[in-house]
């Protein structure tokens, strides 16, 4: 099982958590990113993720390896969705196991922070007002209204 995966179907957080269970580890921290119904004041209807998978996976595995080097953790995995998502769907899941909780929190945050800024993944939001656009760096798409 690869440490990083791009999924075209819904993410099963419970199955991923089970797979990381380790009798040696006492602490588990996870992050889930859900599609929310608003972005900078616009009501979001749905969302599409475009992913360039070869580099998303290789860069994601680099991030996990960095996290394992920096923090005293045991297991770490990340799954990111691609394609069309509806409100409330899970867009990304990160899970980390460790003997102690401090490093698990630090590593989980390190992984999601870097996944968001380094993986070639783009998000196109469709808004209630009919506009849609690519979201840049967690800002609403500057070109959104041009496509409306």
């Amino acid at each position: 099982m690869s440490a990083v995966c791009i999924a075209a179907t819904p993410i099963d957080g419970q199955a991923l958590t089970q797979a990381l269970r380790d009798p040696y580890c006492g602490g588990f921290v996870s992050f889930e990113g859900w599609v929310r119904n608003h972005n900078e004041g616009e009501r979001v209807l749905r969302l599409e993720y475009e992913v360039y998978t070869p580099i998303a996976v290789s860069e994601g595995e680099k991030i996990i390896a960095e996290a394992k080097q920096r923090f005293a953790i045991d297991g770490a995995r990340c799954v990111h969705r691609e394609g069309m998502l509806a409100l409330g769907d899970m867009a990304v899941w990160v899970g980390v196991t460790a003997a102690h909780r401090g490093p698990a929190f630090d590593a989980c945050q390190y992984i999601i922070d870097n996944v968001k800024t380094r993986l070639p993944i783009w998000k196109k939001e469709s808004y209630e007002n009919g506009d849609s656009g690519w979201v840049n760096c967690e800002q609403p798409a500057a070109h959104g209204h041009a496509h409306g």
Partner: protein, 82 residues
Amino acid sequence: MTDKTLTVRYFALFRDLAGTAETALTSPAETTGELFDALATQWSFAEPRTHCKVAVNDELVDWQHPLSSGDIVLLFPPVAGG
């Protein structure tokens, strides 16, 4: 300075602006940065280069990376995963 034969692939917003996902072209650009600047002018990419990324032959590289004929260059607008 001789022209190189390159394959350029555009993603997300850049694909919308260029109107194509992939194109073969010849360019005198010596580096990924020079190539980006030329294409950004051609297609009106507004994003500063420092917010974008580039890969050559499926490896992320920097904007000083030298180009060779036959390279496949991937141009990534600002990412927004998560």
